[in-house]
Symmetry: C2
Subunit: 424 residues, 2 copies
């Protein structure tokens, strides 16, 4: 019996969309692998095809019916992916490369910001962007620069995981840098929002050192407290779980643990995936972690493609049509921003002093902006700092960095395989 | 980074609700098992507690933010459960008990309808229900009677699965009867909607034999065609899948198969779970079915509790407060309907001629109305046939049948274990 109550997105549509997600992601993933590309690239392409600008089977923008549901499922998908990767990561290894990771993260934020900021100022001088208000022009350049600082670790982590490279030194540095990058991103977002609000109210300041300090304390505080308390209670907790006999209790307890961490991370303003990753680090020390990993795999197989499909689905292909004259300045700006975005992160890899590390792999691993970049762009659009032209350009830049990273990463890793340390 | 776009139900809320669903369902499931009750009963109770009328953590009515998402996840949950059960069921066994199942289904529809119809007519004569319009009074009695014909196979199937009784003769009869019951329900719903529309338009007839015939042909046609074509292509399809090497391809292909069948079932008006069950029957014949079952289990462990939580969450506990005077007639009507609902289905079990079958188990297995009963009640309310009083009474009846079935089933099965055939 299937009578729909008011629901916008019917049960039929939902099943159809799910089937398309699963089938397309696997077919395109398989095709990608056959041409020696990471399967995640195939999933991203599948997402573009299913998204609102092509087939419109999967809701890709928040105004489409059912978007909320798929958006939430995608969040679960990437959280489970990072939880899984946390489970395979040794916290001690991560701390060992802590200094290197921090360096990579800082360079990978400062450089893209500076290059992006400079490019936008140049565009404004050329009259391609901006208006007569110098304050607004400055704000536009700052916000666009901020968009370039983002890192979407999901894409890189997935490629590394599929290549069985999660135990490599490069993977540890990238994962560590991604966590720190998320905290830096949080600070930047706080500062940019503050600047935007201040400019709106005609106020001079708007960003207090105290405000930034609170963000930093909350973010680091969460990570330290969560990992410390998590390590204290997790063993006892999971030995208790072992005494329960109801079906599926171990898997669901582990997932609950991950989701609680994701929830708490969200509460302090961090990405849920940072919380899920921390939960994985903690549970890696329990006696049950092999069984958790084993049971988690099918659930991860189901959910993670939804995330990559949704990232792909966010691409509006119509912007790429060069025969529409309005698209030409957008594509030009996007291309420059893209080059700058790639250079900024790539160079960050060369901030590494450590020996035996393939610096190019680390640099390339930080390139994809993914959903994090889109969130920044959305802020710019929502607050009226970006016009639709610049928003489109920034989106194209985000997408290009996201799509270029998986194949580049695969090439770089194969090239440096003889020089890089690899404990896998 | 977690900035919410307009979304009603934030990512934080979603993770929190998921954690609560997983944790509560396992704790209450465990408690139920410890007091020798089926764990699904614990999950239903957990749902009541998380639902809108108690903690309101899980959205339980369509007007609450996030309801659509959880409703869709619940549909996936019960579809996966029935898919899993289909995988463990041999189609030949099902056909063998086909006549018996049909008999049980027909008696289990006719008897509750007649008893329910009679009770409502009696209430109307006593002035407890209805108004001065004899046509409307008749319609009310027909619609309420129809609500009593529903069977929610999810509850029973889960109990049988947890008790390792899916291979018993009783289980086959119940599963077969549930499929036929869904088709009968479809016909009844078609007839009732036709009558309601006709009464609205002041028209005399409204239900054509042709209309009913089309419903029947579509429903049976889907089942026969799906199973025949499914059997023809499934082996080749899954041997092809075996040649793919991308991660998780077997599980996702199997799930896609189940969801396509669920989608097609929805299209012809059947419950998605009937389609998912048929998909399981088909895939039970493939070479990969053991591997599919193995990988499916964790995914099922994740999704099925969401369904039972949502069924529990639909309970409005305030109706049960006897100190509110308006509740007394509601509870009285509900109680009579409940008794009639139990008797009607229980007696249906005794329509079985076959030897060596525990008739009481079959009868009790058909008792829960679950979400199917609620859909019927919703139709009555939406079309203005039920006032809120009768709607509440019918809802309470549905809930009581749903909650009573798991413990009763367990008792009945243990009692008859020596007489009933059991190949498990």
């Amino acid at each position: 019996m299937s009578i729909e109550e008011s629901g916008h997105f019917s049960v039929e549509q939902f099943f159809l969309a799910l089937v398309c997600i699963l089938v397309f992601s696997k077919i395109f993933g398989e095709l990608a692998e056959r041409i020696k590309q990471p399967s995640v690239l195939g999933e991203l392409v599948a997402g573009v095809i299913l998204g609102g600008s092509v087939l419109a089977i999967v809701p890709s923008v928040s105004t489409m019916a059912g978007y909320d549901t798929f958006h939430l499922l995608a969040e679960v998908g990437v959280a489970i992916l990072l939880f899984e990767i946390g489970l395979e990561t040794d916290l001690k290894d991560l701390i060992k490369v802590g200094f290197t990771s921090t360096l990579v993260a800082i360079v990978g934020v400062v450089l893209p910001f500076a290059l992006g900021f400079g490019s936008i100022i140049a565009f404004e001088h050329m009259g391609l962007l901006g208006g007569s208000d110098p304050n607004l022009n400055l704000l536009i350049a700052i916000t666009a620069g901020a968009t370039l600082t983002a890192t979407s670790v999901g894409i890189t982590a997935r490629v590394l995981s599929d290549m069985n490279k999660l135990q490599s030194g490069e993977a540890k540095i990238i994962l560590g840098a991604a966590v720190i990058d998320d905290i830096l991103g949080l600070i930047i977002l706080g500062v940019v929002s503050g600047l935007i609000e201040a400019s709106g109210s005609g106020d001079g300041g708007g960003v207090s050192t105290l405000g930034v300090g609170i963000i930093v304390v909350k973010a680091f505080g969460f990570l330290i407290v969560a990992i410390l308390i998590g390590n204290l209670i997790s063993k006892k907790l999971f030995n208790l779980v072992d005494m329960m006999r109801v079906r599926g209790v171990l898997l669901l307890s582990a997932l609950s643990f991950a989701f609680i961490f994701a929830f708490l991370a969200s509460l302090v303003g961090l990405a849920p995936i940072v919380g899920a990753f921390a939960a994985g680090l903690v549970l890696a020390n329990t006696n049950q972690f092999k069984a958790i990993e084993h049971n988690l795999k099918p659930v991860s197989d189901f959910f993670t493609p939804i995330f990559f499909i949704m990232v792909g689905a966010a691409v509006d292909v119509s912007v790429f049509n060069p025969f529409v004259s309005e698209n030409i300045p957008i594509l030009l700006i996007a291309l420059i921003l893209f080059v700058v975005a790639v250079i900024g992160k790539f160079v960050a890899g060369f901030a590494i002093f450590k020996k035996g590390i393939n610096r190019a792999v680390v640099g390339v691993g930080m390139i994809p902006r993914g959903e994090v970049g889109l969130i920044f762009a959305q802020v710019g659009l929502t607050y009226g700092v970006f016009n639709s032209q610049l928003f489109s350009a920034v989106t194209v830049m985000v997408m290009l960095t996201t799509f270029i990273a998986p194949p580049l990463l695969k090439i770089m890793f194969s090239k440096g395989d003889d020089t890089a340390e690899d404990s896998a």
